[in-house]
Amino acid sequence: MAGNTLGARLMRNLNAKIAAIPMVTTALVVFLGGTAWTVLYSFTNSKLLPRNSFIGFDQYERLWSNSRWLTSIQNLMIYGILALVFTIAIGFLLAVLMDQKIRFEDTFRTIMLYPFALSFIVTGLVWQWILNPEFGIQHIVRSLGWDGFTFDPLNNPDVVLYGLLIAGLWQGTGFVMCIMLAGLRGIDDDIWKAARVDGIPRWKTYLFVVIPMMRPVFVTTLVIVASGIIKLYDLVVAQTSGGPGTASQVPAMYVYDYMFQAQNLGQGFAASSMMLLSVLIVLIPWAYLEFGGKKRG
């Protein structure tokens, strides 16, 4: 009993340790190791194969002077902000509507959530068809007699992002609505009773009492939606293939093309490291608020 040697300590819970090998390997080798490897090799001039010749920040300088990358970043910022604001606003408004003790709630939820079960490829292809200028919405409005009507986002570089946004919102808002609805249902009924006794209108209660109370739900949704937006790839591939020209390019596409098509690994690594950095910019303040905040208060 007294001799708690190293061997004995290793043998304790041996089965549990063996069972945890896949988890430990994934965490250490793939997640930590893989990330570190990519960041490290973004400082090399790897072309077809990874090479160990370090060239400092050259890849990053090339990256930030590449107009295609700059377009990608700009697109992601515009799309990201719009998608974030609209997804959360629409998701919350729909959840509020669904929370009014309505009938057919299940039916409405089923309708709003089914796009979320579909892939971005399917989403992109359907909306590509609906927005098709020769057959889709533009054609139909024109055939109704409004000849000058123009709505052709997928072939117009200035508004192509809105075409993507329509599809992205269609796919994702139902999901946010569901989370928000769960958040609203978590609000104590007494709050509503108290507000009613005080004669506060419903919209005011939502705005000044419910929303502040749902802060954690909003923050979680924000993080989930934002990290999804940074990964944006399939939708663009399916709906516009990054076009017209390079008008709807996104960073994930840039990474894929340089890594697996252009055989310029170093550029791909540098671009993906920049994507990681942008996630950290979202994630670190959140982690600080969530975990740092609790300790203080």
Partner: protein, 299 residues
């Protein structure tokens, strides 16, 4: 039991049944919104049932005058990607061959993880779990190439088994979280009693934990089937053209630049690809909602 008592005693004010202005606004908005959500499904189905001449003349919203299943047949068995003209069926079977082992393996690994994390904590187990959770936020693009190297080392790059491993790895954070949260709600006394009776790690897992957590396994299956079926990026990176999953093949068929565009075939192909997750969605109903909520709210 709790449900019974809740329904037996009505509480709160009597629901108003009249057609107030407020109700018209609520239902009106919901109906218009529903239209936006239903529209693409409607258009897909209608387009896939028309012939090309009818598509060129009519509106994409109108139902077909003459219903034809030819586009479906063509999408399934004849549509071309590159030199292969055997339709989406190839991609479908590839996806099935990817899906089944991936779902089983990822859930098996993650459930054991969750179980070990709750009942068999060892030094550092929480640290690995934290890395796992933070890892789920890292863009896949950062880990794409290192995994190519790892798979090449073990000789699985470009094979279906390689892709199964990739799905297991990337499914692990969310599933482990799901199982960990579920197992933490099972009373610890049960576990302790089994220990006293001499049951070991696997004995408790198979005889107590597994039978007690079937609902969460169903949720995990729903989550994984839709997630893996809908994957595009991993399929395109880790397999080769003849092994491409359905989503990749669908994209190649529809977005190919050669030949005359056959929109009806394209929409039939798109619907075929969406059919599996849609079926899962409509059958599972509330469990699907529970799955995504478990993934989101507790995270």
């Amino acid at each position: 039991m709790a449900d019974l008592t809740a329904t037996a005693i009505p509480s709160g004010p009597r629901p108003r049944r009249r057609l107030s202005g407020r109700n018209i606004m609520i239902y009106g908005t919901l109906l218009i919104v529903s239209l936006y959500y239903i529209l693409p499904l409607w258009v897909m189905v209608m387009t896939s049932l028309k012939g090309m001449p009818e598509i060129r003349m009519g509106s994409i919203f109108s139902p077909p005058v003459e219903i034809t299943f030819q586009p479906w047949v063509k999408a399934w068995a004849e549509a071309c990607t590159g030199l292969n003209c055997d339709g989406l069926s190839r991609g479908f079977w590839n996806s099935v061959r990817i899906l089944i082992p991936s779902v089983i393996l990822s859930i098996a690994v993650a459930s054991v993880n969750g179980y070990a994390l709750i009942n068999w904590k060892f030094k550092g187990s929480e640290v690995f779990f934290t890395i796992l959770i933070f890892g789920s936020f890292i863009p896949y693009q950062v880990m794409l190439y290192p995994i190519v190297i790892l798979l090449r080392e073990i000789g699985l790059y470009g094979s279906l088994s390689g892709l199964v491993i990739v799905h297991t790895i990337f499914g692990m954070p969310i599933l482990t979280l799901l199982f960990r949260n579920y197992f933490s709600s099972i009373p610890e006394e049960l576990f302790k009693a089994a220990r006293v009776d001499g049951a070991g790690f696997w004995g408790i897992y198979f005889r107590i934990m597994l039978p007690m957590s079937l609902p969460i396994f169903v949720v995990a299956v729903i989550l994984q089937v839709t997630g893996i079926w809908n994957d595009f990026l991993f399929g395109v990176v880790y397999t080769k053209p003849e092994l491409y999953p359905m989503t990749v093949q669908l994209n190649n068929i529809v977005n190919s630049v050669q030949g005359v565009k056959e929109y009806n075939v394209n929409m039939a192909a798109t619907l075929l690809t969406g059919l599996v997750p849609l079926t899962i969605y409509f059958i599972s109903g509330k469990l699907f909602v529970r799955g995504i909520a478990a993934g989101a709210v507790k995270g």
